[in-house]
Amino acid sequence: MNNRGKLNLSTLLLLAGLFAFLLILPHFLKYHQQDFLIFLTINVLVVVSYRLVTLTGEWSLIHAVMMGVGAYTSALLSKNFDISFWITLPMAGVVAGAMALLLSYPLFRMTQFYFLIGSFAAGEAIRLCWIQFIKPFGGTGGTSAIPSPELMNIDFLEPIPYFYLVLVIVSICVYLLYRIEKSRIGLTLHAVHWKGVLAESVGVNTWNYRALAFVAGSLFVGIAGALKVHYIGTVAPKQFDIGFMVFILIWVIVGGYRTFYGAILGAVVLSVLDEVLRGVDQLRPAIYGATLIFFILYLPGGLESIPHKIKKMYQQKRSRAT
């Protein structure tokens, strides 16, 4: 962490390769696989922004609803007031962030278990409001016919152009989140998590930093929500329920929450697994559940810890041999 997040040459090359791969990938996929790729890319932003929230050691259960706040903001503004996507997209982030700021006052009076339950309750209350108040939000069925983005003459109803759009926006956001984590602020967040009392004693206002992480994480996930619903064309309360929140948790835990790329790894690996399991729809949640339990019990470090484990085993073997 001493180079403070500056990327070195080999990482840059790797990233360039990844981008080249992602640019040509959708052309070799079937229609529904292109859809899948778009959602996967958006979910990467969801987990990375959730990671920022969890850096301070608090696991919130409101992240999915925050995504919904962004989604509803952008959808309703662009549909009812005919505002361009390019304005409603940042608006989605701003409104989700503002909502998080508002909620941070009651929620951060709690810690640990109470915070978890409190965030769940607050999120569920917001989500039920979308169901209850049919006038702006559209009730259980949600709101459909959300306009798609307009830029020159590109048809964003097609998956491939929309994928490129998502890729660009998500990459920018993920890069920003990476820089935040590696910045002084990010280091302080780590300190708040692991040495909260010590951090306070050297003058860190832990409350402010927890709120900052929560607001910033919500801002980015709001953008992710907007990206999602402008592609689907429909926004509904069901998309942001506790079930989706649990998926976010599973991705982060199975991937590993100790490193930045762990969460991304979890989202990608599990989503691909999910796509492969498409044939056995009924069973999918159970497989997810079993995977989650397996990882918590036997591999708490997540997927990203596997290379370390193998390395360790190899070293032990060698030291025994000599």
């Binding site: 009076r109 159970a286 995977t291």
Partner: protein
Amino acid sequence: MDLLIQTVVNGFIQSGFYALAAIGLVLVFGVMRVVNFAHGELVMIGAYTIWYAHAQNGVPYLFTVVLAILIVTAIGLLMERFLFRPMTDDPLGGLICSIGVLFILQVIATYVGGEGPSKQVPPPFEGTLIVFETVRIPYQRVFSIGVSIFALAVLWYFLTRTKLGWAVRAVSMDREAAALQGISTVRISMVAIGVGAAMAGLAGALMAPLTNINPHMGHNVIITAFIVTIVGGVGSLPGAVIASVLYALFHTFVTTYFSGTIATISGLLIMVLVLIVRPTGIMGHRVSE
């Protein structure tokens, strides 16, 4: 006026379910410090047992109630042995494990009952009790509230008058001190989750003829249980019972005069308010970490 009295009566009857469903959550959290997110699904499995054995295969109702309690208790004990016990020092890990169980139980229910519309169980007790010619209570509900009160009374007797019950309360007050007194915390954890799961199974069995049964019914149960637990004071059983009565009355009133969704929204807001203003709830006491 009639509607008012009827609503009060309905609220009281509802409180029986709430208390039964919440008490397992409180007991498990008190003793093991783990939030069992799959608790609502335990209630759901109880209801499914009634649907499958009684409504589908004609086994007598009372017999299936016992069966439901046994099955759900067994699931609870399995969860303790294979998930919560290895996760003793990691409450978050225990919670996440229980989310995994939640998914698995929902899939099992979907397999047993199939997809499609919610299931209904015809009430085994027919007829309606009419009090003062205005208040109407179906006998099924009379039975439910009677059994609920009886079960809670038995639990109260167990916790306050028996040695094992004292041990359970001792562990939930101070785990280490209890262990130092020679109380086996593992055994007490098994008792706590066993009793809690039995109550959940009973709640599901009593609820089955009065509600729509589907694999996702646990969601509403867990929200109710959370609200009751927090408002009553985390870890406090009398608090949970009092909060059940209050919340059931409140929820029934708002549902009758406004709508069910508004009732749940206000319940959640009350819960958040309690968490802010008085995190120890009505009856709770501060837990030292």
